[in-house]
């Protein structure tokens, strides 16, 4: 999928999220105990993470719990403040502006127009007491939509795309199954045709048949919309099925990166080897 001449739609450089002031040891790149500085107890949720996402590509992010995968995603979606680092989106000012150093209005614009996010926990991404239509329309309203009929038309289109019956558009997501809630989240994330879709453990907690439907949906979305997807999962089967390239994270750092088949069939880092072998 990656082509040398192509510009990445999303480029991240040195993304660091730190909880604590740090000390000379950890600030100068000293070894950490897990992701915590052994001297000052500062937690390095992400440490100098670099990543590139190319047009139409699915980039997988794998790692154990606490490795910084979700922090990476939420930082890119401005849910968490970033300590250091820069990121560029081709769709935003033609890639000429660091998105982390924009004002609140600009960040809101990026969230509403250029990126879509699907959270692991639907409660974070949906208003459980509002109708499904309202949940999706929220994204359209945030992007400046003020025509009721146009927005409702778009909501119908999106619900059909994720195979939710139109008759259920007035029901709140709290009445839906986990898989349906994730599909409502996906349709909400797609509402404004974003250039980048961030998927954070979308299949976690779902049974296998529902997982398969959601994964099929993601594959179809990529084909139909040509959207670039950053996919976080701790499930290597999901990564193998969907991701073109993969980065492996451990203790807040990227320890290995490459084509998914290469990572899973010929892992180089001892942790990746352990991860792959524990699966097999």
């Amino acid at each position: 999928m990656k082509k040398e001449e192509e510009r990445p739609v999303l480029k991240v450089e040195g993304l660091t999220v730190r909880y604590g002031k740090g000390c000379p040891h950890c600030l100068e790149g000293g070894a950490l105990l897990k992701n915590t500085c052994p001297q000052c107890r500062t937690v390095w949720a992400c440490r100098a993470v670099d990543a590139e996402l190319y047009p139409g590509e699915i980039l997988g992010v794998v790692g154990e719990s606490g490795s910084g995968k979700s922090t990476l995603m939420k930082s890119l979606y401005f849910d968490f403040p970033v300590t250091e680092g820069r990121a560029w989106l081709t769709s935003y000012k033609e890639g000429g502006a660091d998105i982390f150093h924009q004002n609140l209005q600009q960040k809101k614009y990026i969230r509403n127009h250029i990126m879509g996010m699907v959270y692991q926990n639907p409660v974070l991404g949906l208003r459980m007491d509002y109708s499904s239509a309202g949940n999706i329309a929220e994204k359209l309203i945030a992007a400046g939509g003020r025509s009721f009929s146009a927005m409702t038309g778009r909501v119908r289109e999106l619900l059909a795309a994720v195979e939710i019956l139109e008759t259920r558009m007035k029901e709140p997501p709290r009445y839906f199954s986990g898989g349906m809630q994730q599909r409502v989240q996906i349709s909400k994330a797609l509402a404004n045709n974003p250039a980048v879709l961030l998927l954070d453990e979308v299949t976690t907690g779902l049974d296998l048949s529902v997982q398969a439907r959601v994964l099929d949906l993601i594959r179809r979305i990529r084909q139909e919309y040509g959207i670039s997807i950053l996919l976080v999962s701790h499930d290597l089967a999901v990564i193998r099925m969907l991701a073109d390239r993969t980065i492996v994270m451990l203790d807040g750092q990227v320890i290995e990166r490459g084509l998914t088949d290469q990572i899973l069939d010929d892992p180089q880092h001892p942790y990746t080897q352990q991860l792959v072998h524990s699966l097999l």
């Binding site: 809101k108 239509a133 003020r146």
Partner: protein, 312 residues
């Protein structure tokens, strides 16, 4: 009349009035913005119009003519007591005629008679924050106003439309002031909301319990939030008229006639209704809601005695 040697003019001390006036100036300078102020204790319970009273007491002068209405009525207990308090500690003239008044303190209604440049309408507000229905945290609503993040407010309108096919907000309909702040116009009915737009008069809003003041200066754009293809609609009284004065195209209260059991309509604005009847009868109006002939016959309006009579 309260002994003036024991109370300052207009009850509040001068420093309190000055502080409230400063807040009012800021509110007028930033239309729709909620200005915090040090709400004072008053001889009336919080939530009974203390915000409105404090504004009234701060801006009133000896030459002013005061009108106080509560849900359109000049004669409700709340309106009468507020009128008594202000009249007792200022000595100003009180009236039920909207045209005669220079200061009108009100709750839930804006008078039917269009207001003039030299008039000030003071509205009592229970919940000044329009975003409270979507966000309980004050710190978050402040940030939302700062960022003009009103999507959740629009979403509530969308929800109403998608679930019920119409917007079900009957009062406190959110409005956009000069395209910047979303404001709660106080619990006035939707019928009154358009009166705020491009008005000749100054509107001041006081919330004593919530300690907030805000304002709509004259000739300010006050537009109810509405989708492009679903326009704002006020209550429709087409085909109905006041049984007392025959007025049409006014805000009407629906009542059940205790004698016949029929549903009947009366003007919500009792001062307006009484004036129309007095003019129609060509008689001198003596007090709120009663003409000479009605007084002789005992009257057919349920409002009872006027505020001035109760005060006596």
């Amino acid at each position: 009349m309260i002994d003036q040697s024991h109370y300052n003019f207009a009850f509040l001390d001068e420093n309190s009035k000055r502080e409230i006036r400063r807040s009012l100036l800021k509110a007028v300078a930033i239309p729709g913005y909620q200005v915090p102020f040090g709400s004072r204790e008053l001889p009336i319970g919080r939530g009974w119009g203390t915000g409105g009273i404090q504004i009234t007491l701060s801006v009133i002068g000896r030459q002013d003519v005061l009108k106080v209405i509560d849900q359109g009525s000049d004669d409700s207990v709340n309106a009468v007591n507020i009128k008594k308090l202000v009249a007792a500690c200022t000595g100003v003239k009180v009236t039920t005629d909207s045209e005669e008044a220079t200061l009108i303190q009100t709750r839930h209604r804006i008078p039917e008679t269009p207001l003039r440049q030299d008039q000030i309408l003071i509205l009592q507000v229970p919940t000044p924050e329009p975003l409270r229905v979507v966000e309980p945290r004050e710190s978050v609503t402040k940030r939302m106003h700062a960022e003009a993040e009103y999507s959740p407010m629009w979403l509530t309108l969308y929800e109403d439309l998608i679930r019920c096919g119409r917007i079900g907000i009957s009062s406190e309909y959110p409005v956009s002031v000069e395209g910047r702040y979303v404001m709660n116009p106080s619990p006035i009915p939707r019928y009154d909301t358009p009166k705020l737009n491009d008005s000749d008069a100054l509107y001041l809003f006081g919330a004593g319990r919530e300690k907030k003041i805000y304002a709509v200066p004259p000739y300010t754009a006050v537009i109810p939030l509405a989708f492009e293809d679903v326009p704002f609609e006020a209550e429709n009284f087409a085909g109905k008229k006041c049984r007392l004065c025959g007025a049409e195209h006014v805000y009407l209260d629906e009542l059940t006639d205790s004698m016949t059991g029929r549903r009947v309509c009366e003007c919500s604005d009792t001062g307006y209704c009484a004036k129309r009847r007095a003019e129609a009868a060509g008689e001198k109006r003596i007090s709120a809601g009663f003409t000479e002939s009605e007084r002789e016959t005992g009257g057919s309006v349920s409002a009872g005695a006027s505020g001035e009579e109760m005060a006596r």
